[in-house]
């Protein structure tokens, strides 16, 4: 299967090869959570909610008392994929993605500032259309910022962008998590074979994507802060 039409140079959904899908971010979508956000990349749509920092609920999980405990759960809605399936909770894929998100977010949260406390990140996929991992990390970043949790930098993620049709066809999928200001890669996953030099271009492409997303996320947060300031003044 060709991902890029050799005649027109456009992809299946009409994008150029290096064009990102439409982004949309919104904070404060779950009223009761300490921080929450909705993040959309094209048709992929996820909600993240953050609870904490709060007292550690299960003392057994506390590894050391000097750092905050960060926990994450990833869940897909039954209706999120094209064909409806009822999957058991906590299957391997969800567990793996939960772990990936947790590790990526842990790298940016200043855990040493919140000893003996716990931060829960819950991500719920409403629609899956490729790049759910990346969308979840971006949503989690927005939600953590909304909760006012101190972070080193904004982590954003971008998979060298394949939508679901392309994804299912078994094309190479490279997901990168990136700390934009510190210029550091915190997450890197690839599940296909790829020549070294192509890999470099793909990774550069993903990093470019991460930077663009980081700019967008900053804009969303700034806009939200302006709105809050406006509300305070009145």
């Amino acid at each position: 299967m060709e991902y890029v039409n050799p005649l027109t140079g456009f992809r299946v959904d009409g994008r150029r090869p290096n064009e990102m899908r439409q982004l949309k971010g919104e904070v404060g979508v779950v009223a009761r959570a300490d921080g929450s956000a909705l993040f959309e990349m094209g048709n992929t749509r996820v909600i993240a909610a953050v609870y904490g920092p709060r007292e550690v609920q299960n003392k057994g999980q506390q590894v050391n008392s000097k750092d905050a405990l960060v926990r994450c759960e990833y869940r897909m809605a039954d209706f999120s994929t094209g064909d409806r399936r009822r999957k058991p909770k906590g299957d391997r894929r969800s567990t793996e993605i939960s772990l990936v998100i947790r590790q990526t977010m842990e790298a940016s949260i200043l855990t040493h500032l919140m000893p003996r406390s716990q931060i829960d990140i819950f991500v719920q996929v409403l629609q899956a259309d490729g790049g759910t991992r990346a969308a979840c990390i971006n949503a989690a970043t927005l939600a953590l910022a909304d909760a006012g949790i101190p972070m080193r930098d904004i982590v954003t993620s971008c998979s060298a962008d394949l939508n679901y049709i392309e994804d299912s066809a078994g094309g190479p999928d490279v997901t990168v998590g990136f700390l934009t200001k510190m210029d550091k890669v915190t997450l890197l996953q690839m599940d296909a074979k790829l020549p070294m030099d192509t890999f470099e271009t793909v990774m550069d492409l993903a990093i470019e994507g991460c930077k663009a997303i980081a700019n967008y996320i900053r804009e969303v947060l700034l806009e939200n802060t302006r709105r809050l300031e406006c509300q305070r003044d009145h």
Binding site: V29, V30, A31, R32, A33, S36, N43, I47, A48, A49, Y51, Q57, E73, R75, A77, D78, F79, S80, T81, G82, D83, R84, R86, K89, G90, D120, F122, V123, Q124, L126, Q127
Partner: protein
């Protein structure tokens, strides 16, 4: 789940007794409701309903299946509910299973009727494509995204709106289908059939706190309840199902009283929901 001091509990109960609740509502007043349709484009129909800080999404997906041997002239409808951990940390992992099952069974009771499918809110015989061979299976999924009490009413309202948003693809059956072989079915991409949702009920939950009962309780108010009765009523004022929750016993006369109040309240609720749905469909 809700941490309240003695003073706060007293304040909530006192307010309800004086017909002025903590958020300024009267006992039989709903929170502001907002409706959005078509929120999940991958589904045949979907809706998001917000009641105050409670937010739920309902989707309807239709798949072609085989009718059961017992009822060859009827389609199948199933309802599932999931509480996302985004709504509350206690729904994490398997923590939501019991609660989701409770909501799910209550909704099934109100929408699906008895085992034979009699009394279902959706006309099951309208889901049949070829008698005894092909029918539509409707999967209704409810997802709780944010929880601030009264989830059952919000879910039922979202399902009602999602069903009215649902378009089932028109199906052409080739004529050779009269033989014993599997009939050939052609699903249209362009033509959709709308549902008759006029008899789909809403659910009104009356929560008893102290001597009085209230509608659309927040989670703080729910933490103070002694018992709750959920009545599902359709547009014509008919009762479709009833569930009582909570530990305390209720006097039978109180239950009859609650049902008549629920019937009265549901009329206003349905009209508000209808106008919100129309506005949402116009905005889509």
């Amino acid at each position: 789940m809700v941490g309240l001091s003695e003073g706060e509990k007293h304040f909530i109960r006192g307010g309800i007794a004086q017909d002025l609740r903590t958020d300024g509502r009267r006992r039989l007043q709903f929170r502001a409701i907002s409706v959005e349709t078509g929120v999940i484009p991958q589904a045949n129909g979907s809706a998001r309903v917000r009641l105050g800080a409670t937010e739920v999404i309902a989707t309807v997906k239709a798949e072609l299946g085989k009718p059961s041997i017992l009822h060859p002239d009827k389609g199948k409808v199933s309802i599932f509910v999931d509480c996302s951990p985004t709504a509350a940390p206690m729904f994490e992992g398997r923590g939501s299973e019991e609660f989701s099952a409770e909501l799910c069974v209550a909704l099934q009771r109100c929408l699906l009727g008895g085992k034979s499918g009699a009394g279902a809110a959706i006309d099951l015989s309208s889901l049949i494509v070829v008698d005894g061979k092909v029918c539509w299976d409707l999967y209704i999924d409810g997802l709780v995204v944010s929880s601030d009490g009264n989830l059952l009413d919000a879910l039922a309202a979202a399902i009602k709106v999602a069903l009215s948003d649902t378009g089932i693809p028109k199906v052409n059956v080739s004529l050779s289908a009269t033989t014993d072989e599997e009939p050939e079915v052609n699903v249209s991409d362009e033509e959709f059939l709308q549902f008759d949702t006029s008899s789909v009920p809403v659910i009104v939950t009356l929560t008893k706190v102290g001597k009085h009962y209230i509608v659309d309780a927040t989670s703080e108010e729910e933490s103070q309840m002694s018992s709750a009765v959920s009545v599902s009523v359709n547009r014509h004022g008919q009762i479709r199902g009833l569930t009582k929750r909570g530990g305390a016993g209720l006097d039978p006369s109180v239950i009859f009283d609650m049902i008549s109040v629920a019937k009265h309240v549901s009329r206003q609720f349905i009209s508000v929901l209808d106008s919100e749905t129309l506005a949402a469909e116009a905005a889509e």
